[in-house]
Symmetry: C2
Subunit: 344 residues, 2 copies
C-alpha cells in the first residue's frame, strides 16, 4: 500500500464515486446505461437475466490483517460471478456497494477497486452501479451480479436424476489449508510482530484462498460440447455440504468415492504439515469456488475430454441416502460439517 | 414487538432463509426462478432491465431507537424502488441481503420482513434472492431493485433542455421535520426514560419519515398521458441538491420560485414549532422520495391534470446558473447544503 493518504472526506460522496468509476470501460453491447444515474439499464432481448448477490462483512468473511485489498476486490467479484456460472449462465454486469469507516484512505479504496476492475476485465463484466456509504465499524461489501442465459438453459440444484454422474471441477480443499497457514502466521505476528511470515512453498494453497477464480471455462466447455448439466452449484462451503444440498433439493441420495475427489499435491503436503486429512479438507473446507454438477450418463464420453472435470460418484434414489466410500472400502454417511468444524 | 424470543442461531443460515422466504408469492410472470438457488432468473423479452442498489447501515441511515423494524423493512424497499421509478421504469423484482448481529431475535427479523413484504405487495414486486450473514456490529441492509422499461423510454438526469418546466411531485420537507421531532423525543427519552413521547398531531410529518411511499402513481400517470419527462430523479437529499444534479448533468441553469415549492400545512406548522423556515426544510431536508423532473413546455396542459404535480420553475442556459426567486422577489443562488447543514 502507498504511504500517501488522501482523506475520503475531502472528496465528498459524489467526488468519491466519480473517482472510483473514472476508468470504467463498457464491455457489453447490452450495457445501455452504467454508473452515474439512479439505475443502470440493460438490454436483454431474447435472453434470460440471472441475478445474484453477496454481502461480505469485515471480521465475518475476511480479515484485512492478511488479505491485501486488491485481492479482496478481485475475490469479492469472483465469488459473486461464481454463482452466475453455477446457473450455467454468463455474467454480464455487476453492481457494487461498499460501506467504509473513516480508517480507510482513498489509496486503500483504490487498491480494492483495482482488484474489482481486474476481475471485471478478466471475466468480461461491466460494473454498472452501486452505492457508497459510511459504516460505523469495518468494511462492508455488497455485490450483485447479473448474467444471461439462453431461455430455459439455466441449471438449478433441484433437477438431478437418479443415475446421473456427480462431478466436480478443479481440485478441492486448498483454500482451507491456505487459511490455516494465514491464521497461523497472524497468530505469530500478533505475538511477535518482528517475525517475518514463513509461507515459503505455500503459494498454491494461499493463492487459492486469496485469489480464487470462477469456472467460466467449465461453463464455456459445456456450451461448446452441448452438455447441459442436470443440476449445478458452486462449492463455497465444502463438498459435503454442497452435495447434501443437491441431494435434498433433488430428492435423491448419492454415492461419493473418496479416491475420486480431486486434491492437489500442494494441498496434500500442506495438510500433512498441520496433521490433518486432505480428504477432510476437501469435504469440509470452503471457498474453493469450484463447480459441483450432475450430468446424464450418456454425457460421460464428452466430459472426459476435459481434464479439469472429475467424476466423483453418482446419484441414487433418496432411500439410499448420501454416502462416501473411503479408500479403505468402508461406507459412511456424508455429513455437512463445514469448515467451522475443522477449525475447532 | 412480541416478548417471545427465538435465537437465530437455533435455525442456522438455511433454516433462517427458509423461514424468511416461506410466504413469498410470485407476482410477475417474468419471475422464472426466485429464492432458493444460486441466482434468480428473469425473463425480459422486448424490454430493458433497470437495476439499482442501496446499502443501509444502522447508525448511519437509520436509528432503531425510533424506527419500528416493520417500517424500516417497508422503507428500505420503497427507497430502492423510488430509484427505479425515477428512471421512468416499473420495478419488478428486488434482491435483499441483510447482515445482523446476535442482538436480533427471529421475531425482530420477522417484523422487518413483514414490512419488506408489505412493500413488495403494494408495489407489485417479487423478492427473488439475497444473502443473509452476521455482522460484527449493527444491522446492515443491502437492496437491489430490478425494473423494466420499454426500449429507450428510460429517463436520465442529463437530458433536460433549456426552457423545460421544472416539476416536483407531492410535497417536500415533511420527512425532515418528522426527523426533528423523533430526534427531540429520543433526547428526552435518553435523559428521562419515564417520559412518554409527545408526538401528538405530528403523525403526518413523522409518517413521511418512517413510512415514505415511492411515486408509482406519477410514472403511471406519465404512461397514461403519453408524457415523457426530459430528465428525472428522485428527491432523497433535498430539492436544492437534486436540482443542482440535473443542472450539472444536463449542463443547464434554472430558475426556481419559492412560492411554487409544494409544502404541506402540517409541515409548515411543525417547522414553526422548531423555529425553522419551511422553505429551508423543503430545499435542504431529505428523504421525501418525491420525483423531480423536467418536461417540455408543450406538455404543460397534460401536467395540470394531476394535482400531485407542481411546476416550480424552468430550465435556463448554463451561463445563468441555478437561482431561486424568493417570495419577497429577491434572487439567490441555489446551494446544496443537504440536511446535515440544517441539523447543525
Amino acid at each position: 500500500m502507498s504511504t500517501e493518504r488522501t482523506e475520503i472526506s475531502n472528496l465528498g460522496e459524489f467526488g468519491l464515486i466519480d473517482h472510483l468509476t473514472r476508468n470504467i470501460e463498457i464491455q457489453n453491447a447490452s450495457t445501455v446505461l452504467g454508473v452515474g444515474d439512479d439505475a443502470a439499464v440493460i438490454d436483454h432481448f431474447g435472453k434470460q437475466t440471472v441475478l445474484t448477490t453477496d454481502l461480505l462483512v469485515e471480521g465475518v468473511h475476511f480479515d484485512l490483517i492478511y488479505t491485501p485489498l486488491k485481492h479482496l476486490g478481485y475475490k469479492s467479484v469472483v465469488v459473486n460471478l461464481s454463482d452466475v456460472y453455477a446457473m450455467n449462465a454468463i455474467p454480464t454486469q455487476i453492481i457494487l456497494s461498499i460501506g467504509i469507516s473513516n480508517r480507510f484512505s482513498l489509496e486503500a479504496l483504490d487498491e480494492f477497486y483495482e482488484g474489482v476492475y481486474a476481475a471485471c476485465e478478466k471475466y468480461g463484466v461491466d460494473l454498472v452501479g452501486g452505492d457508497t456509504t459510511s459504516s460505523q465499524k469495518g468494511f462492508i461489501i455488497s455485490l450483485t451480479a447479473i448474467g444471461e442465459v439462453a431461455p430455459d438453459n439455466y441449471v438449478k440444484r433441484s433437477t438431478a436424476k437418479k443415475g446421473d454422474l456427480l462431478c466436480v471441477s478443479g481440485d478441492l480443499g486448498a483454500a482451507y489449508v491456505g487459511l490455516l497457514f494465514l491464521e497461523r502466521e497472524k497468530k505469530i505476528f500478533i505475538e511477535s510482530p518482528g517475525v517475518q511470515p514463513d509461507l515459503e512453498g505455500e503459494t498454491y494453497v494461499i493463492g487459492r484462498l486469496l485469489k480464487p477464480e470462477a469456472r467460466k471455462d467449465i461453463v464455456e466447455f459445456f456450451a461448446a460440447n452441448q452438455i447441459k448439466p442436470t443440476a449445478m452449484m458452486d462449492i463455497s462451503d465444502g463438498l459435503s455440504s454442497e452435495i447434501l444440498h443437491i441431494c435434498k433439493d433433488s430428492n435423491l441420495g448419492c454415492v461419493l468415492y473418496e479416491e475420486k475427489i480431486p486434491v492437489s499435491e500442494e494441498m496434500k503436503k500442506a495438510a500433512f504439515k498441520f496433521e490433518i486429512d486432505p480428504t477432510a479438507c476437501a469435504l469440509s473446507g470452503g471457498e474453493d469456488y469450484e463447480l459441483l454438477f450432475t450430468v446424464a450418463q450418456e454425457d460421460y464420453e464428452k466430459l472426459v475430454l476435459n481434464e479439469q472435470i472429475s467424476v466423483v460418484g453418482y446419484m441414487t434414489g433418496p432411500e439410499e441416502g448420501a454416502h462416501i466410500i473411503t479408500k479403505g472400502g468402508s461406507k459412511h454417511p456424508v455429513t455437512a460439517q463445514g469448515w467451522n468444524h475443522l477449525r475447532s
